[in-house]
């Protein structure tokens, strides 16, 4: 059926009995001026990646600087475009470069879109990306594969920019898969380590589950609306039947959960920490894992059109944020704690985008602030590992503040920011989400509000535990005596600490500076900021959350200021469960992996016995036939002539038969 026809039918149907959905025509202006070069944003890092990955060793000396420079140029370009966009009357411009997939009624252009939402993501990706690139020049200085690393890193930047710059879902998917590939390559960057190779595969496969959802969602759009372009989809989203919107939204949500490490697809993210630390900071904290939040925020006309859908998103967010906090409290690996913290913080963002309305912008602002403070802490963790012979166990740190002052101070800023101590950024970005959760109508407002509030307390607990065990308390370093290495911690070189300082400044001031202007800036895409009316007063919630935060931090300080045991001690059922990721991996194994393996075995059996048997049988038949027919090729010219004569007789006979049939 013609998709456009269905659209018309749907329009008619909606005029009669569909609930009145606020229809807002979405229109993008053509790009002009500097904005018509927005393809350069993607092309520059992409070309740089190509150069780094195809040139040989002679690029080893300068390759990493090329990688940094390309991201910096993209950043400057993006900044220029940002200012140009600000002065435009219609703050959304698009550019169609060429026809990408023209097949029948499916017309997909290679089209780019630059609007306020894209602009903030471009700033985040290239800005934080550049700082982490610079940091990585130092962090990876002694690694043989540094050029390859920067090639993948640039590839990631290009793909991530494509993801946020696309003007249709296929472009988004293109970038989506690109960042997935880059993530896979970088997680298993040290592919010689079995754990890294496994983690890469795990990330890739779990992402595929989510990607399948996204792809099906795109198919739904095409069949229902006849287009995958943002403007067409958003203008007509409300015309689809409610069930279709729900299905479409759930499929997109599955994709978002896969990429953003949300329940039930969260298990890959902590394992992804096997990659080099700059990768964890850039891809698995600041940018790529927030792509799910971007997808939902971008698709806000779809998600806002169905209340059930929003409830599902909010539930996923609330559940994941608690899950992340609880598991994070029980982990001893510095990067894994941060990874679970990322899972939890993205849970907050999902909570925000699920609440809808004015909370979309809150989620994006928290995403930006998180990009700063989480990158800050990951790079700080990298700096600690750099000084401690790649030790990651926080039970074996302690007292490091004396030895790495800059790392300590910058990490402290990240820590204070994430737990939401005013006036650092987390306070300005997390509080509004908690308030908005309480503002949800009905009893669910209490449920999600309390989840967010408890999450804030737990966050304070596990982040303080991490901070205290790492930088304070007695030394618990490994020694040569116990068969390990002696530790001589030292501060990292300036090329690593300077990005840390920049990110720390972002962690301090980002929230304060961004909260209001960014919400206004995003109005054209996400709607105007609203004034929520929570179940309790604003002030009450703020005070409660600060009290819980201080209580969580204080408890952690009290428990861990004297250090802790060098190895995990036996613990009660709750801690054991948290150490085992609340048995989510066991659940996945029992529910998905085992039946999957059985299915595989069954299919292999059918393939070996049935399909192969058929194929081999046919092959034997052909071979046997060939052997028999060969005997006709005797080499005697007389038999050849005879066969030609027989053929002639047959042809004549056939003609005669056709002729007789015709005459009869």
């Amino acid at each position: 059926m013609e998709p456009t026809l269905m659209l018309a039918e749907a329009a008619q149907a909606s005029a009669v009995d569909a609930p009145a959905v606020l229809q807002q025509a979405v229109a993008y202006a053509p790009a002009t001026g500097l904005l018509s070069y927005m393809w350069l944003l993607i092309a520059i890092p992409a070309v740089s990646a190509l150069i780094l990955l195809t040139t040989g060793r002679w690029a080893d000396k300068w390759g990493h600087w090329l990688g940094c420079a390309s991201v910096f140029v993209s950043f400057v370009l993006g900044l220029g475009m940002f200012f140009e966009l600000r002065d435009l009357p219609n703050r959304a411009v698009q550019q169609e470069l060429y026809s990408f997939i023209p097949v029948g009624t499916l017309q997909v252009d290679f089209g780019l879109l630059f609007d306020p939402l894209t602009a903030v993501f471009v700033m985040l990706i290239t800005g934080v990306g550049f700082l982490i690139h610079v940091y990585a020049t130092g962090y990876m200085a002694d690694d043989e594969g540094r050029r390859r690393f920067f090639g993948y890193f640039n590839l990631f930047i290009a793909a991530m920019l494509l993801l946020v710059l696309g003007n249709n879902y296929v472009m988004l998917y293109f970038g989506w898969e690109g960042v997935g590939l880059a993530s896979y390559l970088l997680i298993s960057f040290w592919y010689g380590r079995p754990s890294a190779a496994t983690a890469g595969k795990k990330a890739f496969i779990m992402n595929r589950v989510g990607d399948a959802g996204l792809v099906l969602g795109i198919f739904v759009m095409f069949t229902q609306l006849g287009s995958v372009n943002y403007d067409v989809v958003f203008s007509n989203a409300g015309l689809m039947p409610t069930t279709t919107i729900l299905v479409l939204g759930l499929l997109l949500l599955l994709g978002a959960c896969g990429k953003s490490g949300q329940f039930p697809l969260q298990a890959w993210l902590p394992d992804a920490m096997e990659g080099p630390t700059p990768v964890s900071a850039l891809i698995h904290a600041a940018t790529m894992v927030t792509a799910g939040v971007y997808l939902i925020a971008r698709s806000n006309p779809i998600f806002s059109a169905n209340l059930t859908l929003q409830t599902v998103v909010v539930s996923v967010g609330a559940l994941t944020l608690l899950l992340g906090c609880i598991i994070g409290s029980a982990k001893d690996d510095i990067k894994r704690v941060l990874a679970w913290s990322t899972v939890s913080q993205i849970g907050y963002m999902f909570l925000g985008v699920g609440l809808g309305g004015g909370a979309y912008a809150l989620a994006i602002i928290h995403l930006l602030a998180h990009g700063f403070f989480k990158a800050n802490m990951f790079l700080g963790a990298g700096s600690v590992m750099h000084g401690m012979n790649d030790q990651v166990d926080i039970r074996r740190f302690g007292s490091l503040w004396k030895y790495m002052k800059i790392t300590w101070l910058t990490f402290m800023m990240g820590w204070l920011a994430i737990i939401g101590i005013p006036p650092l950024s987390g306070f300005f970005t997390k509080e509004p989400i908690i308030v908005a959760a309480f503002a949800r109508p009905g009893w669910t407002g209490w449920l999600y509000g309390m989840a967010a509030l408890i999450g804030a307390g737990l966050t304070a607990f596990y982040m303080t535990r991490l901070f205290i065990l790492t930088f304070h308390g007695p030394k618990r370093w490994t020694t040569a005596k116990e068969g390990s290495v002696d530790q001589h911690p030292h501060e990292s070189p300036p090329v690593m600490t300077i990005p840390l300082i920049f990110l720390a400044l972002g962690s301090i001031f980002g929230g304060m500076l961004m909260a209001t202007p960014v919400a206004n800036w995003l109005t054209p895409v996400l709607g105007p900021p609203t004034d929520p009316h929570p179940k309790m007063g604003h002030l009450t919630i703020t005070v409660l959350s600060l009290v819980l935060t201080v209580a969580g931090a204080g408890l952690a300080y009290a428990l861990f200021q004297k250090g802790t045991a060098l190895v995990p001690q036996p613990a009660g059922p709750v801690v054991t469960a948290a150490r085992n990721n609340l048995y989510t991996d066991a659940f996945n194994e029992a529910v998905f992996e085992k039946p999957g393996k059985w299915l595989t075995r069954a299919l292999v059996f059918v393939d070996n016995k049935g399909v192969d048997g058929l194929v081999n049988g046919l092959a034997a038949l052909v071979g046997g036939g060939s052997g028999r027919l060969r005997r006709l090729q005797t080499g005697f010219v007389r038999s050849y002539a005879l066969s030609m004569l027989l053929g002639g007789v047959l042809v004549l006979g056939a003609f005669a038969a056709v002729q007789l049939g015709w005459m009869g």
Binding site: V622, A641, M644, G647, A656, Q659
Partner: protein
């Protein structure tokens, strides 16, 4: 009444005939070169003369192309019809002949070249051993090839069955001779030539007999009159059908369609490899060009009469070619059976009918021609003391010894198998598409089936070259001279380019697929 007996000389359009006249002239000149130029210089002179003549003829074709109209296409009392499609076929034959001629001239792979000096000397005699060792190969091959090319060009533009028959003989006789001139394995070569000659004569007899029958039906031998009679004659159609059947047999013999393919493996194997390449490329073009002209122009109104019969022949051809290729152990024979199967695919295009069918056939002929020349050219490089080593077992592990050679040959085999990004894929896609468009889906199904079977022998060679360890008897790959290298490069490049960017040639064939009646 006197003027009734006056002989009216036909008007000749020399611009249209120039390509053929150039070739026949150069061929006669070549015979004189044999008589007057010293033996040492002959090969170079003949090669240059041949190439110059072919290129000049091609230039004449290209220059003629923009000026062809429906009105001026026919000349010599409508005996010859040099229309758009005819001109394209002539051009294709010329281009392929130029590339093949480069293989003829090769002298670095073997002392004296791939041809014997004196074919009349008894095989195995003292004299023979002497000439095999040092004497330079016969140079008569060049004028013979020019005559053959000229004949093919006339064959595809003949607008009357008698001219077509004459042209058939003009290009067949030189081919019989050329087949007998291999330097190595001379008995095999002579046997091949004799078989080809006997069976060719036999097929010609069919053609001539069919011609007589059609004349009996239509009272004329030119296609326009035949066509008019087919659509509205009171004569018994029995004559017509016998005639058409026999004409088809004569043409299908040249095209190597089953069951008239039996000569192909023996002749392809026995003939000197450059001649095999020439035949596989150019004769195919000529045979299918003429077959299409006969069916499209002369017997156009009988489509649904002959389509089922020729369809069965196409299916037989595809299946027999593919199935027999499976058990071949000699690469030349393998390629011969592949050539038979490809004749079947070409028939799908022909039977698809209409502009699309013709256009797909033209594209296929060009794509296949370059591919097959390159493939046979590669065979000349794998040699041992006895000449070319074409037995499959000898190629085991060749990839380890000569990765470049094996890589290029694997690419060509993939093209034969019709893998995308090669011309083979686009060509097959075109003929299958034309078959479906012409309601011949059943043929396409058999075509796909046959392609699947045929993929096995191709891929087996690839596996053999790459995944086997080289043995002690694995021959070495010789470094080709400039001529063979050029021919191979052209063949491989065209195969690649037509696979990646086929639209210019597809557009051209779509534009020229137009026969004038």
């Amino acid at each position: 009444m006197g003027e009734d007996f006056a002989v009216n000389l036909p008007d000749l359009n020399y611009a249209a005939l120039a390509p053929m006249l150039i070739l026949f002239g150069a061929a006669c000149l070549g015979v004189l070169v044999e008589a007057f130029v010293p033996r040492a210089a002959r090969n170079a002179v003949q090669l240059v003369l041949g190439l110059v003549a072919l290129v000049a003829s091609l230039v004449a074709v290209v220059l003629r192309a923009p000026h062809v109209t429906d009105a001026n296409a026919q000349t010599a009392e409508q005996a010859i019809s040099i229309d758009q499609a005819g001109l394209f076929l002539q051009g294709a034959i010329l281009v392929l002949a130029i590339v093949s001629l480069l293989l003829f001239g090769e002298r670095t792979l073997e002392n004296g070249g791939p041809f014997v000096a004196q074919a009349a000397i008894t095989v195995g005699s003292e004299l023979d051993r002497k000439q095999a060792a040092k004497e330079s190969g016969a140079t008569e091959i060049y004028p013979l090839a020019l005559f053959a090319v000229g004949g093919m060009m006339l064959f595809v533009t003949a607008n009357n069955l008698l001219v077509m028959f004459v042209a058939l003989e003009v290009f067949s006789l030189p081919l019989y001779l050329l087949c007998a001139l291999a330097r190595r394995k001379r008995l095999l070569s002579q046997e091949a030539a004799l078989k080809y000659f006997l069976l060719g004569a036999y097929a010609s007899a069919f053609f001539l007999f069919g011609l007589a029958m059609v004349y009996g039906f239509a009272g004329a031998v030119d296609f326009r009159t035949i066509h008019e009679s087919v659509t509205g004659s009171a004569n018994s159609p029995i004559l017509l059908f016998i005639g058409l059947a026999m004409l088809s047999i004569g043409l299908l013999f040249k095209a190597a369609a089953a069951p008239f393919h039996v000569w192909t493996p023996d002749v392809y194997q026995g003939a000197p490899t450059p001649i095999t390449a020439f035949m596989a490329a150019c004769t195919k073009v000529a045979a299918f060009g003429a077959l299409a002209r006969v069916l499209y122009v002369g017997f156009d109104g009988l489509g649904w009469e002959f389509t089922p019969v020729l369809g069965v022949i196409a299916v037989l051809t595809m299946l027999i070619g593919a199935i027999l290729a499976v058990t071949q152990t000699d690469l030349k024979r393998l390629l011969a059976y592949s050539s038979i199967a490809n004749a079947g695919y070409l028939l799908i295009g022909v039977l698809g009918g209409g502009k699309e069918g013709l256009s797909s056939m033209l594209f296929y002929l060009v794509a296949y021609g370059f591919l097959v020349i390159a493939a046979f050219g590669m065979l000349t490089l794998v040699r041992d003391a006895d000449g070319e080593a074409t037995h499959l077992s000898r190629w085991a592990g060749l990839g380890k010894r000569s990765p470049l050679f094996a890589g290029v040959f694997s690419f060509l085999l993939l093209a034969f198998a019709g893998i995308p990004l090669t011309s083979g894929f686009v060509a097959k896609f075109a003929v299958f598409g034309a078959g479906i468009a012409g309601d011949q889906t059943w043929l396409v199904l058999f075509g796909v089936l046959s392609s699947i079977i045929l993929a096995f022998p191709y891929i087996r060679v690839v596996v053999l070259m790459w995944l086997n360890e080289p043995g002690e008897t694995t021959p070495s790959v010789s470094i080709p001279g400039a001529l063979t290298s050029t021919a191979l490069m052209i063949g491989v490049l065209v195969t690649l380019v037509l696979g990646v960017w086929p639209s210019p040639l597809l557009d051209l064939t779509a534009n020229v697929s137009n026969f004038i009646r």
